[in-house]
Symmetry: C2
Subunit: 205 residues, 2 copies
Amino acid sequence: MERGLRADAARNLARVLDAAREVFAERGSEASMAEIAARAGVGTATIYRRFPTKEDLLAALFEQAVARLAADAGQAAEARDVGRALRGFMQRAAAAHLADRSYCDCAETNLKLRPEVQRHFDELIANVDRLLARAKEAGEVREDVNAYDVPILLMGVAQAGALLEDRVPGAWKRYLDIVLDGLRPQAARPLSRRPLTARDVHPRA
Amino acid sequence: MERGLRADAARNLARVLDAAREVFAERGSEASMAEIAARAGVGTATIYRRFPTKEDLLAALFEQAVARLAADAGQAAEARDVGRALRGFMQRAAAAHLADRSYCDCAETNLKLRPEVQRHFDELIANVDRLLARAKEAGEVREDVNAYDVPILLMGVAQAGALLEDRVPGAWKRYLDIVLDGLRPQAARPLSRRPLTARDVHPRA
DNA sequence: GCCTAAGCGGAACGACGAATTCGGTTACGA
DNA sequence: TCGTAACCGAATTCGTCGTTCCGCTTAGGC
């Protein structure tokens, strides 16, 4: 895990991270530190030794999640069939958002201000940008959307799907399909707002 | 307001409802009863005299919000230009969701189980159904979506837009445009999940 | 105008969760 | 093997929030 950590400390750190990932995924970011500690089989102070606040723990897991997305987008950008790759990426991403209730919670907070999170987010945007560029070339995606739109749309699909997930599991796929059709050029009408830029997304305060 | 209420009590009830609407809209359903009482200029116990729990107060306001949506959908269903009416309805609805942070909070809870809320929700669905039927006839909307999809899509757009609202006000319109294009027949691919039915939406527990 | 009961408000209660502290314990280096 | 420093978990502190209690106020019928 980390250099210079005593053997038992490293083991406990791994347990805490695993437990936190599970508990936050199930209960959202409001889950209590006590529940995480119980699931990890440690005391609460053990968590606070590695993560000064609950927010730091959330940030560590959120960073991992964004990094996974970025890596997946990187793979998709290289795939042969770019249309299929885009759909596949968005399906996996939406499914990941739904499987982790804390993801959307974190995206709403200013955890995204943290440099380590921003770094992975920029990587995600860069990879999605390559993916979209190829998809536009192939005539699969309208010209007036850009990479910044994709994470927003994914969050929307995930949050809409979450409303139904307990009663109609997988209903989110229906709504992702509608959004994907909205991204195709065939039905495109001019969008009423200008595209987002890095300045809009990178919070300067 | 209500029969048999003393004049001052009726006045306070109105103040409480107004204050609660404002505070919940600004702060979400997590806002404290104390803040609502302060804004209304009453004591906390005054709220509890009319609404036994915070949930009851939220339910009363949520019911009003759903009723407003239903009425607006009813108007839209009668309009001449049905495509324009559909877009207008969804724009107003999304804007309303964004202006009231507690709306999405409530939609995620089982407040929708309450009969008075369900009644207005059913009315909303019926009106949207009429609106969609006419829009399909006019070739403005694909055949494989139904009225149950609309509130879900609106929630998704609102929640996606909320992520940006402070930095890029109105960004949600861009995402609603994409969703509206996805609802048009020109780019439609077969949806991967069956349409929702009343059984899916009406929670039986 | 008076009487009475409904209405009022603020203080108090209990539960809960984040964060901190402390005394006992355990792993590593010499 | 032993000393020490790092580590652990339970108990505690502190603040917040929903809800209730109780003594005071006041509206409104007679």
